[in-house]
Amino acid sequence: MRMFRSHARMIAVLVTMLAAALSLSAHVGSPDVYYEGDAGPYHLFVTVRVPQVIPGVAEIQIRCATKDVRAIQIVPMRLTGAGSHYPPTPDLARQSKEDPQFFTGSLWLMEWGPLKVRVWVDGAKGKGELSVPVPAAAQRTFKMERPLGGLLAFLMVFLAIGMIFIAGAAVREGNLGPGETPAPGRVRRARVVMALTAVVVVGILYLGRTWWSSEASNYQRRVNLFKPPSAETKLENGKRLVIWPKSQYPEWSNYVKMEEVIPDHGHLMHLFLIGAPGLDRMWHLHPERIAGGAFAEELPSMPAGQYQIFADIVDKDGFPWTLVGIVDMAQINGKPLAGDDSAWSGATVAAQTGDSAVSQLADGGRMVWRRSTDPLRANVPMNFKFSVDDKDGNPPKDMEPYMGMAGHAEFVSTDMSVFAHVHPAGSVSMAALELARTVPAGASGELQAGIPMAMPMSMSNAPLPPEVSFPYGFPHPGDYRIFVQIKRAGVVETGVFDARVQ
């Protein structure tokens, strides 16, 4: 029975949460968090199963790369600001007896919005620490199961009838002397009272139902508030795409202001235009912010067709949102790709037959998915490893960071219900990760930006190895297409793989 003491305080908390958060993760239909990084000298793969309802219990799974970890403690905190100062008493993760490198734990996530799970590691090499951003938002509300509904309905009827009969007995016999029997007039009066009690009971049940419906409606509204906003678009001059978010709830735009979104690995927005329904074309673009709470991009040349829109942004407090929409476009005669913008086109999903492990690259080289022959399964944390060969079949020596990282991967279900923009560090937003790695200066709440706590990011421009990996897990069975993007000698290459998940 955790309490909010006043409406004003409730509103204040809600405002803070929304102002701090308002966004689903930079994913659609993929709420769990996968993260790979270093806690001091220890390399960890952390999975956070975000609960279906908030407040709720998140399941934490941590796999250590080495055997020298003795104990792991985990604790949830707000990502930034007030609430990120004092951690609660941490939980000790349970070490598996069969697999000592595997730890599990449960954490109560009590608030909606941008949280982080802080992980403390103790082992033979000393202590280490890392923080994993967790966008906390309920996914749904549950219907009552029929057996439980039946039981509660029976008890409700029992209690209602019981109250009526108790009221009758009270009037009929309650104030009779010992051994006296009720007179007929008293019996009649008892019946009248029973009838009146029945009316009161019905009234109470009606009010209770109204209250319940109101609570359920408010919760559902909150769930919907955290769902991806729609991507509204218009095409100016036949080639300039203007995009802005629109939520069915006006309060959404009060808290998530486009003027306040923060850069995520160098760009305010990562826009993905994917050919629908075959996923046979993909553009990864970076619109600039314009006046009026919108973003705009001069489009490259594109064939006419229907395109699915996924547009990632991160609000000022590190909560990632994905704008979702569909746009029908005529033939675009646009500008050549420039900067970090990239594109791919190829075979449709329907033309593929099940899984694929090799993808030809535009420069004549190829990308290979280093996967086992076992079937892919949903909700299993995996490290998706890809290697690159040049056109001569040799490992290239000209791999470069693409927007500061070894690679980018987009996991998209063929029905477009799942979209996840993943990096070598995992499914977390890079901007949120930066915020998670900063430490508060003190009670005043100001943050000291950029103070690394545990895990340096691979942001350098040094030559990279010809392999890239992405920690992730498919959220549910189905057919998926994976776009893997790397950069070689200044050119972005995209490998495309299809996956059937059981």
């Binding site: 305080r9 219990v57 109560w108 549950f142 007995a169 010992p178």
Partner: protein
């Protein structure tokens, strides 16, 4: 009908009707019920403090077990009373029982049993509520209110049971039952006051909504328990016991070390955090007793028309200026408890915890709400008098 029952007379009159059902000592089922009610009282406040200080809980926290013991102990006591009366063949017991669905027993035992079943029903309902809408976030939710209703019914049943016993009790037993009755009545006031926690939080004590809420919830239980007891200074005794109970919680709970086990944490917590200083209900209670001492022969509606406004106005007269004091640094100590914050309380970051909230945006709304409090208090005072009269007449 009930309007002419003089103060104190019914109990005396009933003493002449003693039969073989005469009560010479407090029966063990009553002690069992009192133990359950006390357990629930302590467990309930411990649980609230637990959620403010530690946060995380399970079905099996000590506080929850104490709350659940209420249902167990009261269930055992009531089952014993009903089953032995129904099947025991004791004519004396049956002569002071009521009959429901073929079972015989004291009316209070049936009411308390109803409360136990309501508490039992709330458990799966609350569990589903957590799954559907998240873990506990507030006191006032439908399953919690069902639990609270069950707990309240147990107290009502216990008071009805004790009222019936007092009608045929010897002097020693009646004296003990009187104090037990006062304690349970005070617990009723504590329970209703706890439900009003939001409206009566210190920063809300200058809102008209606060006084409207108090006028709705408190008179039925405070006046009802006191009037049902039918003795001088009963209202003062009930309100005084209410104050002692809450002060004990406020002063004792912080002595117990505690740390938050949930995040985010906004306050550095090192001990259990209590609720705030009790409402100054003792003052309107004294005024009501003074009033009732001079109005024994009044009709009930006439009494309610005076008692309700006396309650609201005397409460307003002391609580309003006392709220000013609570906002001062002088109140931020263990005695007045104004320096305690829950771990999840974003005070200091988002709002000033020592600044009164404004709920009524215009003077018109404020005064209309205050006027509503006065009118409502008449109705709720009448309700309390009716409940009290009902207990005064209770014999079975």
């Amino acid at each position: 009908m009930a309007d002419t029952i003089p103060l104190g007379q019914p109990l005396q009159a009933r003493l002449s009707e003693r039969t073989s059902a005469r009560v010479e000592s407090v029966p063990w089922p009553i002690w069992c019920m009192i133990a359950g009610i006390t357990s629930s009282l302590i467990g309930g406040h411990w649980d609230i403090s637990w959620h403010m200080s530690i946060g995380r809980d399970t079905f099996w926290t000590p506080a929850h077990i104490m709350i659940q013991m209420n249902g167990v102990l009261v269930g055992i006591a009531c089952a014993y009373m009903i089953l032995t009366t129904t099947f025991g063949g004791d004519a004396a017991s049956q002569s002071v029982s009521v009959k429901i669905w073929g079972f015989r027993g004291p009316l209070g035992a049936f009411i308390a049993t109803w409360g136990c079943i309501a508490m039992l029903t709330s458990a799966p309902f609350d569990n589903w509520w957590h799954n559907a809408y998240g873990l506990d976030v507030k006191i006032v939710s439908p399953p919690h209110m069902l639990l609270s209703l069950g707990s309240f019914a147990i107290k009502v049943g216990a008071m009805a049971l004790m009222a019936g016993l007092m009608s045929r009790a010897g002097e020693a037993a009646r004296r003990k039952l009187t104090w037990l009755f006062i304690f349970v009545g005070a617990d009723c006031v504590v329970q209703l006051g706890t439900i009003l926690t939001d409206a009566t939080w210190p920063v809300n004590l200058h809102t008209a909504r606060c006084y409207l809420s108090v006028a709705i919830a408190i008179p039925p239980v405070l006046i009802g328990a006191a009037w049902g007891l039918g003795r001088r200074w009963a209202c003062t005794l009930v309100a005084g016991t209410y104050s002692i109970i809450l002060l004990a919680f406020e002063w004792i709970l912080p002595l117990i070390p505690a740390q938050p086990k949930l995040g985010p944490v906004y306050q550095n917590i090192t001990h259990l955090v209590p609720l705030h200083f009790p409402l100054l209900l003792i003052v309107p209670a004294v005024f009501l007793d003074l009033l009732w001492n001079k109005t024994e022969q009044w009709g009930r509606w006439r009494l309610a028309v005076v008692s309700g406004p006396v309650f609201v106005l005397s409460f307003l007269a002391v609580q309003w200026p006392f709220a000013n004091f609570l906002m001062l640094p002088a109140a931020r100590n263990w005695f007045f408890g104004m320096a305690y914050f829950a771990y999840f309380d974003p005070a200091r970051f988002l709002y000033d915890p020592y600044k009164f909230q404004v709920v009524e945006n215009t003077p018109g709304i404020f005064w209309k709400t205050m006027a509503a409090a006065l009118v409502v208090s008449i109705m709720t005072a009448r309700l309390g008098l009716a409940w009290g009269d009902w207990m005064r007449r209770m014999r079975r």
